[in-house]
């Protein structure tokens, strides 16, 4: 018996030692978490090569970014390598946990607060020479606790996409492009046939939210400190959307068997959809025969409104070469480079100095950029992603649901994360 105890003790000791040894290895593998001097404002600098991690929409984007980074690299003499993430938030999280993240990477608005909150991101926005050139609402989207964290990469807004053939078939002309909700209801009814509905869009906040903006509502107040989801404006918006859905002249894309509005539109199941700039690429690639035009979304009782979506160029607080990273981002967000990106993969430049040129280059899509004047950003508070995804799941039941109840539960959830 005694021998067994000794043996057990020996085994336990062995395990403990190896576990301790392993955790010690792990511990030393994680570099110091104090960050690279982000707090005192001085940027780290070294000869290390930069790694750039992007979540690419396709070959066109990958090539454009790779070329741009390579050209900066040869000018500046700092090596830089672009890699494409298959699951960007996951790969970023792994990098931050290991203490060796990519130096420059895409950050979406809904992951910004989480990464900023745990100190992974370098708040470098104000140090950019072109900081004042960005659209102010985009800067707002990447500002957490009054710190402008990262430079908006580009952006897109929602517009009304119209199938011009169906439009003509229904006897409609350019003068009929809806400018208010009544007009939208009317053309949706006229466009609806046995084969297709007038209007289709995805059952999510990222589309329905445009109606909330048009009604004068929003998710939070301007400072983002209070949830305003259960406002009467939002109730009005959801009630209007519900009326559209029950009339049969509009439908959620999922109810038409389509993954998103663009698919419903491209396959001819809907004559109009509400989507952003990215739809032009999808239509060119997947549905080249569909002819369409882009219009600004109609105004609601609260005036015109739409949503805007954007990503930024994040820089890691743990990066050993922040100085070079900021220089790279400055180059990537410059007027010429943004116009080149816009040309390559159909995004809109995030800086105002490129706006006019872009509109001249893309006259068909000018409505998207014009919408920037009245666009609302999507919420970027820590935890908002979960609340919005819950809101989305309830919105998909809007047709038979109670708009007030949906908004009240979303309000309660949003209140909880702002506490």
């Amino acid at each position: 018996m005694q021998r067994r105890t000794t043996r057990l003790a020996a085994a336990a000791a062995l395990t403990t030692i190896s576990v301790l040894g392993l955790t010690a290895c792990g511990g030393s593998g994680f570099s110091d978490t104090s960050g690279g001097g982000a707090s005192d404002g001085a940027l780290t600098s070294s000869d290390d090569a930069l790694s750039v991690l992007i979540g690419s929409s396709g070959d066109a984007e990958t090539k454009a970014v790779t070329d741009a980074v390579a050209s900066w690299s040869s000018d500046s003499g700092t090596d830089a390598e672009v890699s494409v993430a298959s699951d960007l938030p996951q790969q970023l999280s792994q990098g931050f946990a290991s203490g060796k993240p990519a130096d420059v990477f895409y950050v979406s608005t809904d992951t910004l607060a989480g990464f900023a909150g745990n100190g992974s991101l370098l708040p470098y926005g104000d140090q950019l020479s072109n900081a004042d050139d960005f659209f102010p609402t985009l800067v707002q989207s990447f500002t957490v606790d009054d710190q402008f964290y990262c430079a908006p990469k580009d952006f897109s807004t929602l517009g009304l996409i119209i199938n011009t053939d169906m439009w003509a078939e229904a006897g409609l002309t350019d003068a009929d492009v809806p400018t208010d909700w009544d007009g939208l209801t009317e053309v949706a009814a006229k466009l609806t046939t046995a084969d297709h509905v007038g209007l289709a869009f995805s059952p999510e906040y990222a589309r329905v939210g445009a109606f909330m903006a048009q009604a004068g509502g929003s998710v939070t107040n301007d400072d983002g400190t209070e949830a305003t989801l259960d406002s009467s404006e939002n109730v009005e918006a959801l009630t209007y959307v519900q009326e559209l859905l029950t009339s049969g002249d509009a439908a959620f894309s999922s109810d038409l068997g389509a993954g998103w509005g663009g698919e419903a539109f491209g396959t001819g199941k809907a004559a109009m959809t509400i989507e952003g700039n990215w739809i032009s690429g999808a239509l060119t690639n997947d549905y080249p025969d569909v002819s369409y035009q882009v219009a600004e979304l109609p105004a609601g009782p609260g005036g015109q409104g739409t949503l805007q979506f954007t990503n930024c160029w994040g820089i890691a607080a743990d990066s050993p070469n922040q100085e070079a990273a900021v220089a790279l981002v400055e180059q990537l967000t410059s007027t010429d480079q943004q116009l080149a990106f816009a040309d390559a993969f159909g995004v809109m430049p995030s800086i105002q100095s490129a706006a006019d040129q872009w509109k001249t280059d893309n006259p068909d899509q000018a409505a998207f950029l014009d919408s920037a004047d009245f666009a609302q950003g999507v919420p970027n508070q820590d935890g908002s992603a979960a609340v919005i995804s819950d809101f989305n799941s309830q919105l998909s039941g809007l047709k038979d649901g109670d708009p007030e109840a949906i908004l009240e539960s979303a309000q309660a959830n949003f209140d909880a994360i702002l506490k």
Binding site: S18, S93, D255, G383, A385, S389, D390, S393, Q394, S396
Partner: protein, 362 residues
């Protein structure tokens, strides 16, 4: 069956001590590997689940604090979105387990019995065919399933031939049980079920059954895993001696009786394996959700494993994600123990013995 073995106290000599040492030496590589890739990560996750680690740097760094059961409390009694999501994911997965495990066990046993028959022509072909889905990657099968079960997919086409308008499958969030109840006119919750909630979900919603979307996943799980378990049953069936069967035949037992009273009891160890593996596999369902629906429609295919992933990597709530994983672990262990108790070998009851001795026939 349990024979009592009296073990004689063994004497240890210097040579056996040497053997013990070299024994430890030989198993040490695997111990180190298991420790490195199993024990350490599990312990780290356990620590994360009781810490406020935010996902940056080491979870053992100085700034990371111990928060006790806070993460667990938020999940189980928090009253917020976290509790509701967790409740939903448990609801979805419980229905999934409840349907997949019995069906796949029954189907695989049936298939094994079928392909075990001597008279079956082309046995090899059928054995391969039934096993084929199991060797295909689950991602590939999920994509296939998304096409088959799309609104205008093959399955709905087939249904239309018999005059049924198929549902929108992966877009249909309505609960199957709710739909059935709706057919008999019960479409609103009785007050008792609507007013009481468990984990933020009303009892009525707990009873919704799997959503139509989840049902498609249930069919997929049965389709893909039945082949694997068929193989286990087949191996067990081929190990059974023919003599017991013959004896039963001589006693005049019908084929049906032989299956239930002779074959099945002998398969008990395999049955235990299959049920345990089934339970573990179905409670951990992740890839199908990740590639297929990401928890939609209306969160009806959200599962604890997927929720754990999104909480950690998506919402940066690492403590909560780890806590979900450990609650899931407890659920699996408890269910396996329960199942072990139910399936344990019992001594023949007195009533049974009386039946045999009195010579009564059933």
């Amino acid at each position: 069956m349990s024979a009592v073995v009296t073990r004689a106290p063994r004497r240890r000599s210097a040579s056996t001590r040497g053997e013990g040492l070299s024994g430890w030496l030989f198993v040490s590589p695997i111990l180190v590997i298991l420790g490195l890739f199993l024990a350490v990560p599990v312990l780290m996750a356990l620590w994360v689940s009781v810490s406020d680690w935010t996902g940056r740097g080491s979870p053992f760094a100085a700034g990371v604090g111990f928060v006790g059961a806070d993460n667990y409390r938020e999940l189980l009694t928090g009253g917020g979105l976290a509790e509701k999501d967790f409740g939903l994911s448990l609801r979805n997965n419980a229905w999934y387990v409840l349907l997949v495990v019995p069906i796949q066990t029954a189907v695989s046993l049936l298939l094994a019995v079928l392909v075990n028959r001597q008279v079956l022509r082309g046995r090899g072909f059928f054995r391969t065919a039934f096993y084929f889905p199991s060797v295909t990657s689950s991602v590939a099968i999920t994509v296939l399933w998304l096409f088959l079960f799309s609104q205008s997919g093959a399955v709905n086409k087939l249904l239309s031939f018999v005059g049924i308008t198929g549902p929108a499958w992966f877009n249909d969030a309505s609960g199957v049980l709710h739909n059935l109840l709706g057919l008999v006119g019960v479409d609103r919750a009785p007050a008792f079920l609507a007013d009481h909630t468990v984990l933020g979900i009303t009892l009525w919603d707990w009873l919704a059954g799997p959503s139509v979307a989840m049902s498609a996943f249930i069919l997929m799980a049965v389709f893909t895993t039945s082949g694997t378990f068929m193989l286990l049953f087949l191996a067990a069936l081929q190990n059974l001696g023919g003599d017991v069967q013959e004896a039963a035949m001589m006693d005049g037992a019908s084929g049906w009786q032989r299956f239930w009273r002779i074959t099945l009891p002998q398969l008990r160890p395999t049955l235990f394996t299959v049920l345990t593996l089934g339970l573990i596999g179905t409670w951990q369902v992740f890839d199908q959700i990740y590639t297929g629906t990401q928890g939609g429609p209306q969160k009806t295919t959200l599962t604890p494993a997927y929720l754990s992933y999104t909480s950690a990597f998506g919402d940066q709530e690492w403590g909560r994600g780890a806590a979900i994983a450990f609650v899931l672990f407890v659920i699996i262990v408890v269910l396996t123990i329960l199942q072990r108790i139910v399936l344990r070998e019992r001594a023949v009851s007195k009533r049974r013995i009386a039946l045999y001795t009195s010579g009564a026939r059933r």
